[in-house]
């Protein structure tokens, strides 16, 4: 019987615990990379600072080193000839550990002193000592007087050194005079001195070497201290940087979307419960028939709607994936102009005040205006344009159907509006001057409109959508007098933004 398993489990069963060690060379490569990268850790300014600090330390060390060399004469140490069994040998503990100290080259100074004296053959040289205990032992073997002679004390001035040399010479000569084998002793003495000189040369180079090592060690310690301080400083900077980054959004790499992802995103962007959409619109007032809302006699005058700007907000509630109902409220200011009106006086009354719709509330309706401004206006302008300014508060209810419901969607809608008259004024205008001549008394305060339109939408994100909606709104009951030969409507191009949510 066959046992079937998911292939993923078959692989995981084998590979889950898979382990393998890399080649040995891999670790060298990692180590080399780590060394390189650790240097890169320091920013340029820190590297410059570190360089300056290092140079300063080097110069300081060099200064003190030179200072020690220059003062070696004043730090000479030599021996004081005393008839004593004590033998003091120089040891490395006498060598200062830090090169900046003035006594750093003290053993070398002592050696130089002895070597200089060796050049005077008439005076036997005083073996001053050696740099370690083993040399001192050899000294005892080669020269019997060494235990009496080899003594070393520090002297503070060159004069004292000179005195000490004289004492040594006298002492040696007196000893040799008492010896029966002076010549033999001289040879032995010479051999010994040669050997001491050789040892001192060696010790001199050793001392230089040790001083250099000490100096290097000291430099390393200083560098370590600087590096430690730098590390502390860097840690503080890193801590601040990490704290600053915590609030930032984690950066993720953007991959091209798959079909499934695109479909999910599209669905996400086009699926919502509610959408609130503010908009602005450009409005144009017009009429389906050739007439005038002011007076039928003006039907042959040139007329035109003037573009205005409205605004509003709608709330959309989806019924299904493609259908929705919209409610809203908007403000629609409209302007309509009738041109070339000849103002004349008929029976003592200006004809402009005799138009059917005019209600000259402000300026002596039906008679010559007594208002000085109006009199002056009409005296100067006998041909005027009549401008109507009408504004409505719209309360629309629409049914919307989405023809295409994708990232870019297309919809159509239709509905009714309640139109509340908000402004109603008539002006006579000429040469950029205008005079209000009354109101259109035929306009209904409350009307009904029918609107239809199309919507082009771009669903940018899950929550946001851009809208462009051309709409036509026909006024069904705009006038009190139903006999008026005027069928007004206005078009609007609405631009808006929707916020969508569940």
């Amino acid at each position: 019987m066959e046992t079937r398993h998911d292939i993923g489990k078959a692989f995981s069963g084998s590979l889950k615990t898979f382990e393998k060690a890399p080649d040995a060379a891999m670790w060298d490569s990692i180590a080399a990379e780590l060394n390189t990268s650790s240097k890169v850790l320091f920013p340029i300014w820190l590297q410059v600072l570190g360089g300056i600090t290092t140079i300063a330390i080097l110069l300081t060390g060099f200064y003190f080193l030179n200072d020690s060399n220059s003062t070696k004469d004043t730090n000479l140490t030599t021996t004081v000839p005393k008839k004593t069994n004590k033998t003091k040998t120089l040891d490395y503990k006498d060598v200062p550990t830090a090169p900046q100290k003035q006594t750093a080259l003290y053993p070398i100074a002592a050696a130089d002193s002895l070597l200089n004296r060796k050049t005077t053959p008439s005076k036997p040289k005083q073996p001053l000592g050696v740099l370690n205990g083993s040399v001192a032992s050899e000294q005892k073997d080669d020269y019997n007087y060494s235990s009496d002679l080899v003594t070393r004390e520090k002297q503070s001035t060159p004069n004292q050194n000179q005195n000490t040399d004289n004492s040594e010479a006298s002492f040696l000569i007196s000893k040799r005079a008492n010896s029966a084998a002076a010549a033999k002793e001289d040879l032995a003495m010479q051999a010994y001195l040669d050997r001491i000189a050789s040892q001192l040369e060696m010790s001199k180079s050793n001392t230089y070497r040790l001083a250099a090592i000490d100096y290097q060690n000291w430099l390393i310690r200083q560098k370590a201290i600087i590096a430690q301080n730098n590390q502390i400083f860097l840690s503080k900077i890193k801590t601040k940087a990490i704290a600053g980054k915590k609030d930032k959004k984690k950066k993720t790499t953007k991959l091209p979307r798959t079909d499934i992802e695109r479909e999910l995103k599209r669905t996400e962007a086009t699926t919502y419960g509610w959408a609130v959409s503010p908009y602005v619109s450009t409005l144009q007032y017009s009429s389906f028939v050739k007439g005038s809302s002011i007076d039928d006699r003006l039907k042959n005058n040139p007329r035109e709607g003037i573009a205005t700007r409205g605004y509003g907000i709608t709330a959309e509630r989806t019924i299904s994936e493609k259908m929705s109902i919209r409610f809203g409220v908007g403000y629609a200011p409209l302007q309509y102009r009738t041109e070339n009106f000849q103002v004349t006086e008929v029976d003592g009354v200006l004809n402009i005040f005799q138009l059917q719709a005019i209600s000259g509330d402000d300026i002596n309706a039906g008679a010559l205006p007594t208002n000085a401004e109006a009199t002056a206006f009409f005296n100067q302008n006998d041909v005027v344009s009549i401008d109507q300014e009408i504004s409505y508060i719209e309360i629309p209810v629409d049914f919307s159907y989405k023809l295409i419901n994708k990232r870019v969607s297309l919809s159509t809608f239709a509905g009714l509006s309640l139109l509340v008259l908000n402004d109603n004024s008539i002006f006579a205008t000429a040469k950029n001057n205008r005079l209000q001549i009354g109101n259109d008394r035929n306009l209904s305060a409350l009307g009904l409109g029918f609107q239809a339109g199309a919507g082009l939408h771009y669903n940018a994100t899950k929550n946001w959508r851009f809208n462009f909606e051309p709409v036509v709104r026909m006024q069904l009951t705009p006038y009190k007098d139903s006999e008026t030969n005027f069928s007004p409507f206005y078009t609007g191009l609405q631009f808006g933004l929707s916020y969508k949510f569940k």
Partner: protein, 158 residues
């Protein structure tokens, strides 16, 4: 441990070594940030996996897979048939397309959930599932082909 992880997540030995090197450098650089809250091994493992993810999720990849179609395809295999060696299985995993390999490793070998994978790779859960499914289908096809090749080699003695 980490090298084995790199081999599974990378497409070949060279890239696995590169990934291991980058991981170690990151580990040494960030070792001070390790707070001892989890195991150190786990911490290193996460860094290594993240390095591999960074390496391959940058690669553009167009997924043309339709989820419905994928679900219909069988990813079962007869257990007795699975006689592939460890190296052969590793090679098959390495041959997977980058994102399939990442998802397969994360889900199947390192026990991450689809939710976690979707967060790590900035993809949807659905995409993670479909990628895993597609990876299994490819593995099955290649495993069967490799098994047939092995069988043929044994029979013919080549």
């Amino acid at each position: 441990m980490l090298y084995g992880l790199c081999l599974k997540y990378c497409k070949n030995k060279q890239e696995a070594e590169d990934n291991l090197q980058e991981s170690f450098i990151t580990i040494f650089k960030k070792i001070e940030t390790y707070k001892s809250k989890g195991s150190f091994e786990g911490w290193m493992k996460r860094i290594t996996i993240n390095k591999a993810l960074d390496r391959y999720k940058k690669q553009p990849y167009i997924d043309q897979v339709i989820e419905d179609k994928l679900e219909a395809e069988d990813t079962q295999i007869n257990q007795n048939q699975m006689t592939l060696s460890l190296q052969e299985m590793l090679a098959l995993v390495q041959e997977l397309p980058d994102r399939y390999r990442l998802v397969f490793n994360l889900y199947q070998l390192d026990d991450y959930s689809h939710k976690e994978i979707s967060d790590m790779l900035a993809i949807t859960i659905g995409t993670s599932k479909s990628n895993l499914h597609r990876a299994k289908i490819i593995l099955k096809e290649k495993a069967l082909a490799q098994l047939a090749l092995n069988q043929n080699t044994i029979v013919n003695g080549n």
